[in-house]
């Protein structure tokens, strides 16, 4: 089981959290002008790396706030936790 450090509540067991998938996927500007291929990229295509993954979690059974995590999908090691909207910390890149 993962142990995730919520930026507001500290380290808690995985079962308190819900997973939100890949981070930093923003709705493109002028979404109504996108062609189908660009829309598919936004909606469906994912990086799904083996290794360092930037992802979103929400502390469902705690403070209920969203945040971002840098986790290695091969080793499950969490390298960093950072605020939504922020860039991943330099040393975890």
């Amino acid at each position: 089981m993962l142990r995730i450090a919520c930026p507001w509540c500290g380290p808690r067991a995985e079962i308190e959290f819900s997973y939100g998938g890949e981070a930093h996927i923003a709705l493109p500007e002028a979404a109504d002008a996108l062609d189908d291929a660009a829309w598919a990229q936004y909606l469906f295509m994912r990086t799904n790396p083996k290794g360092r993954h930037l992802e979103r979690w929400v502390h469902t059974h705690g403070c209920r706030r969203w945040f971002n995590v840098v986790r290695d999908t091969a080793s499950e090691r969490i390298a960093a936790v950072y605020q939504p909207g922020a860039e991943p910390p330099e040393d975890a890149r």
Partner: protein, 416 residues
């Protein structure tokens, strides 16, 4: 290839089974092949077999990172059925089910296909309506499918708690009698042996590390055993699909997740069918050895670690003991995970790609074992003819651009 029969079995018994011919060779990789298949799971080996058998391709290699069958093909809970909702999927899975029927004879290898039936339980009115809808859709596609009442379910599965005051009351179930289980390793070995006999080179411990292309056309691969040229490349690597796609600068709509399973200590026969419950995320069957084979839903997060988290197992097992109170005292022997390639519409991708000569077969997620022969069959066609078989045309990568998704979340559900 020496054929297996009762006579060869008897003859080899006399020499203490020490002189059986090896089931497949272990050749050194050649410099070049007409078709290279990446991934030595059931799907990859079946693809190679049908390429050689039905399309007359003479120069084929299957490259496997480790040993064949140690991926999801050797980690799954072996449920086979074809009762999917939409016409496209129903036809594809039913094609596969028909190939399962008679596969042992055709491969001259006992894949232990056992049509013991698959039950899907309904625990509330909505479940029941969903199952009815699916059963009706199946029947329109000439796929055997029935709705059972609570009493009929109880008669078929005496150990199941069908009491009205159960935590998860059983309001009925759908039943596909032609569904069942097969022996996972045997399917891999059977296709490997039959493909090898047709001249396919099965190369193990050979990881593909790069895909070579010129002007968006495939020219070969780099591997841990040197470079290998190829006119056509078929990639069937399940949970590693995105890793291989990245080598060709293609993005896929796939996320890799752990999917866990566990088996109990062996017990006397107690369950002669497969029981699945989408609502409570558990399913169970009993192997010939007597172990209960128990499966769960996926772990929510992306992962390649083949581990998974304990709470998922705990949730499945607590649901299981509600359904089968007599299983409460059983010890569990083993637990494991495979990495499944989950697609947004819970349907596979069997497709050409923007790179000419490069084909992907992936996205089977939690339920591709049942499709092993059918998937190999239509993928071989797609590669050999450079165009999809009628049965996989709807499963092209383009559907994520056109929006023509094949949403099978209901039928795929917990899985399998």
């Amino acid at each position: 290839m020496n054929r297996y029969s009762i006579f060869t079995l008897a003859r080899n018994a006399l020499s203490h089974h020490e002189h059986w011919q090896r089931a497949w060779r272990s050749p050194e990789p050649q410099r070049r092949y007409d078709v290279v298949i990446v991934g030595g799971g059931g799907h990859g080996l079946a693809t190679a077999y049908y390429l050689a058998k039905e399309h007359g391709v003479r120069s084929i290699a299957v490259l496997e990172r480790g040993l064949i069958g140690l991926g999801n093909s050797g980690r799954n809970t072996t449920i086979v059925r074809s009762n999917y909702l939409w016409d496209e999927s129903a036809h594809l899975y039913e094609h596969s089910l028909k190939l399962w029927e008679g596969l042992s004879r055709r491969l001259n290898f006992n894949v232990m296909f056992s049509q013991r039936g698959v039950l899907n339980l309904a625990h509330n009115l909505h479940d029941l309506r969903e199952l009815r809808r699916r059963v009706n859709a199946n029947r329109l596609n000439a796929i055997d499918s029935d709705i059972l009442t609570t009493q009929e379910v109880q008669r078929m599965v005496p150990a199941l708690n069908c009491a009205a005051d159960a935590r998860y009351p059983v309001l009925g179930a759908s039943l596909q009698r032609r569904g069942g289980t097969a022996r996972h390793d045997a399917v891999v070995w059977g296709f490997a042996r039959a493909a090898d006999a047709l001249g396919v080179d099965i190369i193990q411990n050979c990881e593909v590390t790069a895909i070579r292309q010129r002007d968006r056309r495939v020219t070969g691969v780099e591997t841990t055993r040197g470079s290998i040229a190829a006119d056509k490349l078929g990639v069937v690597v399940a949970g590693h699909a995105s890793v291989l796609a990245q080598m060709a600068e293609i993005r896929l709509p796939i996320e890799s997740h752990p999917l866990q399973a566990l088996v109990s200590e062996p017990i006397k026969p107690v369950l002669d069918t497969v029981v699945m419950s989408n609502a409570v995320h558990v399913y169970v069957s009993q192997s010939d050895k007597g172990e209960l084979v128990i499966g769960a839903g996926i772990d929510a997060y992306n992962s390649y670690s083949q581990r998974g988290s304990f709470p998922v197992v705990e949730a499945s097992v607590s649901a299981l003991v509600e359904l089968f109170p007599s299983f409460r005292r059983l010890k569990m022997l083993r637990q494991w995970a495979g990495i499944v390639d989950v697609c947004p519409d819970a349907s596979p991708i069997i497709s050409k790609t923007p790179v000419r000569g490069l084909y992907f077969n992936c996205g089977w997620g939690t339920g591709g074992f049942k499709a092993t022969p059918g998937s190999g069959h239509v993928f071989a066609h797609t590669i050999a003819r450079d165009e999809p078989h009628a049965l996989n045309a709807a499963f092209a990568l383009e559907r994520f651009t056109t929006g023509a998704l094949v949403d099978e979340h209901g039928a795929a559900a917990v899985a399998h």
